[in-house]
Symmetry: D2
C-alpha cells in the first residue's frame, strides 16, 4: 500500500472564481501517478530511459467539491487493472476529509517510435509490479 | 451553426515527449466553450456579470492522435443536451483533417453563493439559445 | 513593420485576485515572439528543423496595469539589438489603448548539443532579417 | 534563517526542448515566496483575509542552467529590501549544487480597492518581520 500523494494548491492554480481551476486536477493526476510509480520502484525517469512511453488514452474526471489556494489535496492512486496492452489507474482526491474529485486515466504502452508494445513481454518486471498493486486494491 | 474555434498550439503547451501535453486539451475545451457562448450571443462575461456560474461537473476526454507546437487544432462545439439543471457539451477536435481528440463536459448552474438554480426559470433567454443549438445538432 | 500580436486572455489564465496571473505574461511574450519570427519569414519550426535553438538567457518584466478574462492584449514586438551571439527583444503590451506591460527578453544561440554558435556565420539569412528589423525600430 | 523551498519539476512543466519551460520559474518564485511568508509567520492566506494585496510590480530572471523533469530545485528566498511602499525579494535556485536561476521580484502594497497603502503604518507586524529578515541577509 503506497501512501497518498499530497498536492498543496498553488496561487497560480486558482482562477477568478476563487477556486482551483478544474484543468489542474488533470495535472495533479499526473503528479500522483509519477509519485506512485516512484513508490512502487519503477519511476518515469527509468521508463523513459528504457524507451518505454505510456501515453494517456483517455481520462474521466468527476468534480465533487471546489478547493482553493493553500488547500492540501490528498491523492490516493490505485491500479484499477493492467493487461499486456492497457493500464487503468484510479484517483481519489480528498481535502479536509471530504472527497473533492474522483478520476480515472487509461494508458497504453508504446516504444520510442510510437509503436504499440506488450508490457507483459517487454517489461515483465513493471508488469508484475502493476499487477500485484492491482490485486491489493 | 457556429464556426469551429481554432487553437494554435503554443510552445509552452508541449512537453518533453515533443507533443502537446494532454492536460492542455481540457483548457482548449474551455476556450472553445467560451468562444461558442460568444458566438451564440450570451458570453461568459455577461453570465458572470449576471451572477450566473456554470461549474464543470465532469469531463471525459479521448485522445486519438498527438499534436505538437504550431499545429492548428480546429474545435467543433456542440450542445449535446440541456435541461433546467444540466448542460452537456461535446467537442470534436481535428488537426490536418484528422480527429485528434473527442471530449464531453457536463455543467450545472449555480448562483454566486453556489446554490443550484434552474437555468430555464432564471435565464430563459440563455436556456432557449442552448436548447435551439441542441436541436440543430 | 509587423502588426501587433493579439492575445485574448483565457479564463484559466486568471487567478483568485480576479486578474491575469502575472506568470502568463512571460508566455504571451513567447507567443508574440513566435508570431514575430513567422511574420518576418523565419519561423520557430524552421529554426528547430535546422537544429537552431535560441534559449532565453534572461527576462525583465514591468507590470503596469492588471488585465482580466476576455481582455485583448495587443503585443508589439521589436528587435532591440542583435549580434552574432545575442538577441534582445522588447515587448510593449497594451489593452484598451493603455500600456499594461513592458518587457525584454535576451536570447543566445546554440546548436542541438547546446554549444554556442555564431548566428551571423551559421544562419546569415536569419541574422540579416533580425538586423534589418532592429534598424527599422 | 528560513530553510530553502524545494520544487520537484513536474512532467507538465517541461517543453519539447526536453527542459523545464522558462515561464515556470516565475511560478516557482511565487511558490517559494508563499512558503517564505508562511515560514516567517505571516502567510498569504492571512494577508488576503486581512485585505492586504501585494501585487508584483516587476520581475527579473537570469537563467543559468537548464533543469528537467524530476529535478529538485532548491529555492533560497531573501528579503533584499523593504520600505513602507516597496518590497524587493531575491531568489537563488540551485539544482545538484549548481545555480540554475537567479531572480528578483518587486512588490507594492495595496488594499482591496487597489489603493496604495503604507505597509509600515497599516501592517506594522508584517513590516517588522520583513525588515528583520532583510537585516539578517
Amino acid at each position: 500500500m503506497t501512501k497518498p500523494y499530497i498536492h498543496k494548491v498553488k496561487y497560480y492554480e486558482t482562477d477568478k472564481m476563487g477556486v482551483t481551476h478544474h484543468s489542474n486536477y488533470l495535472r495533479f493526476m499526473e503528479e500522483a501517478r509519477v509519485n506512485y510509480l516512484d513508490e512502487i520502484g519503477y519511476g518515469y525517469r527509468r521508463m523513459e530511459e528504457e524507451g518505454l512511453v505510456s501515453p494517456v488514452v483517455s481520462v474521466n474526471i468527476d468534480y465533487k467539491k471546489a478547493t482553493t489556494f493553500d488547500d492540501e489535496i490528498s491523492i490516493d492512486v490505485k491500479v484499477e487493472s493492467v493487461s499486456a496492452v492497457k493500464l487503468i489507474i484510479g484517483y481519489t482526491m480528498t481535502c479536509n476529509g471530504e472527497i473533492v474529485c474522483n478520476a480515472t486515466s487509461v494508458h497504453c504502452f508504446v516504444d520510442k517510435n510510437s509503436r504499440p508494445i506488450s508490457l507483459k513481454r517487454t517489461r515483465p518486471e513493471l508488469f508484475e509490479l502493476l499487477s500485484s498493486s492491482a490485486i491489493k486494491n
